[in-house]
Amino acid sequence: MAVLLTKKSRVVVQGITGHQGQFHTRAMLDFGTKVVAGVTPGKGGQKVEGVPVYDGADEAVRRKKANASIIFVPAAYAKDAVIEAVEAGIQLIAVITEHIPFHDALEFQPYARSKGVTVIGPNCPGIASPGQAKMGIMPNRIFRPGDVGVISRSGTLTYEIVNAITEAGLGQTTCIGIGGDPIIGTNMVEALAKFQKDRATKKIVLVGEIGGTAEEEAAAFIAKRVTKPVVAYVAGRTAPPGKRMGHAGAIIQGGRGTAESKVKAFADAGVPVAQYPDEVAKLVATA
């Protein structure tokens, strides 16, 4: 078992002919993902890594029964691509693209929701269910099938932590990189709810960072609804207010979004918080 993405998912790659699209199509295939189609307007008829390319997402759905999509198109075209995927009937969309204006996300996120479509990201590393499928840009070799569910706002930091979990002899059901933007599709609470419901997931790891109140909401949700052990890490304890720490969402503004507040919220909810990234795997192993 896994959440959201499984070996049955039929993936279309929007923006498959670009550098990233090509590279990660190969990597996703290597992971075992059913990549059934690619989309690049004007390049229909080509093949990328043996995967047929279509001009529109609707064709990928009609001809290849694609039901999940990973989006690599440039930021200026991402809103178009998400809505195209939703209208084509795709049910799960991972938006890898970074630097998407958040006013675009304010439109495509609720729109996708109105059609019952799950969006992950934007500005995220995607989602991976080891042993089943990956729809993202995380390195393949850090994963191993197991019973830990991972939720993270960050990219490389997640790889570190997932890798450490794997090196500690454990594995993951699914790893969801929910993204570093202020407006994201699937948030921590929703991801937590999925893992709480998933029978294969026994433990949950949350990787948060400064900015917003997602971690505080997650902590409140854990206290009320999550019975499985959760371990957290929060990046940005030393970040100064008013400075955007790389991610569009990682900023302390008007006193909100501090690491202290998040760490305290987790502690109040009984969630152990690792001080060092490497500590996460140890806490999970003993959780």
């Binding site: 390195p139 490389t156 720490m245």
Partner: protein, 369 residues
């Protein structure tokens, strides 16, 4: 992209939000025909101008020039005042607050208003704040304005003007890709007009391509940050001394945190991102060296990024800059051995874990100082 007050007010005026007349000046002698009586306002991208003496009245041209001369060149919150804005003085009866920002949890716009303006909204008692999500797919509906007016309890003539301004500010928020539109104070004059007393505007950097006219706005960046911005590098100067460089924003933050836990203090946040092009790495590293760190802490998790090509870039930069600064590197992942080999050649201290690397960096710096 942050806007100086007078730039923000230009945009406000375009959207029909009432603003006082005003003129900008960089030198007292450029002030020729200011609206009188006026306020002379320092144009800097930080708050607290008033308290710092950066906002002062003037009644005559001479006075305006004198005051402007005193304000220009002032240091406010670390920023030197390069421009003043001379603005028609309002006869203010009361001060309100109005802003639009985003509610991340609800994934909607957020309207905040208060009958208590003129102070920072954080200082206003919670029960005096009106806060309402605005569903962007359908835009503000009349119920929002009704609720706003109930909360603010204003006479109808004032209320109607507020709603008009709130509508226009919403349009501005959406069409200009704003992160923040803040009018504080939203001034009610004694003769019953509602006018934007101050104007704060921040536009989403990611939307710059839709608003190329804003690309030239002065930002509150250090010269090095400006250089990094121009080169598209995620680089921030911090008040510590150890240069921190990593790949990925989260990992860079985490590295800074670990350094701190080990008694060090980061002087830079440098996120290499997903690149492993040695030339780009070298470019980023050169920036870091220009910040004159006492030591450098490099943390690479080579997932897809190849560690050895990153190392090549680092070596290149150190060679070019003839840098003598100690570099502590913790490299993990694809081609990590090759990477370590390359860096050993330039005198790097290798480390196995982030913690160890941070400890070494703190020591290396001490040794160096």
């Amino acid at each position: 992209m942050k806007f100086l007050e007078h730039k923000a007010k230009e945009v406000f005026a375009r959207y029909g939000i009432p603003v006082p007349r005003g003129v900008v000046a960089s030198r007292p002698e450029d002030i020729v025909d200011p609206p009188l009586p006026c306020m002379v306002k320092a144009q800097v991208l930080v708050g607290g101008r008033g308290k710092a003496g950066g906002i002062r009245p003037a009644n005559t041209l001479d006075e305006a020039r004198t005051v402007a001369g005193e304000i220009l060149g002032m240091n406010i919150g670390g920023y030197t005042v390069k421009q003043v804005y001379l603005e028609q003085r309002l006869d203010i009866g009361r001060e309100l607050y109005l802003s639009y920002t985003i509610d991340r949890s609800a994934r909607e716009a957020l309207l905040i208003a208060s009958a208590l303006g003129g102070v920072e909204i954080e200082a206003v008692p919670h029960d005096q704040i009106f806060m309402e999500q605005v569903p962007v797919l359908v835009g503000p509906q009349p119920y929002i304005w009704r609720a706003l007016l109930r909360k603010l309890a204003l006479p109808k003539e004032i209320g109607d003007q507020i709603v008009d301004i709130a509508w226009k500010a919403y349009n501005l928020f959406r069409k200009e890709d704003a992160e923040l539109v803040e009018i504080n104070p939203l001034a009610v004059t004694r003769d019953g007009r509602v006018v934007a007393g101050d104007a704060k505007l921040v536009v989403d950097d990611n939307a710059e391509y839709r608003h190329p006219e804003y690309a030239t706005l002065d930002q509150d960046r250090t010269p090095l940050e400006e250089e990094a911005h121009a080169k598209g590098i995620a680089f921030i100067q911090l008040d510590g001394d150890i240069g921190v460089i990593a790949n990925g924003a989260g990992l860079t933050m985490a590295t800074l945190d670990v350094l701190n836990l080990k008694g060090g203090k980061g002087g830079t946040f440098l996120d290499l991102g997903g690149t492993d092009d040695p030339a780009k790495v070298a470019e980023a590293f050169e920036l870091l060296l220009k910040a004159k760190p006492s030591a450098i802490l490099l943390n690479i998790f080579g997932g897809i990024t190849k560690a050895d090509t990153v190392a090549l870039g680092v070596k290149q930069a150190i060679d070019v800059m003839h840098a003598k600064v100690p570099v502590v590197a913790r490299i993990k992942g694809v081609n990590e051995d090759k990477a370590k080999e390359i860096l050993r050649g330039v005198g790097m201290f290798p480390a196995e874990t982030i913690e160890e690397a941070a400890e070494l960096a703190v020591k290396a710096r001490r040794g160096a100082s």
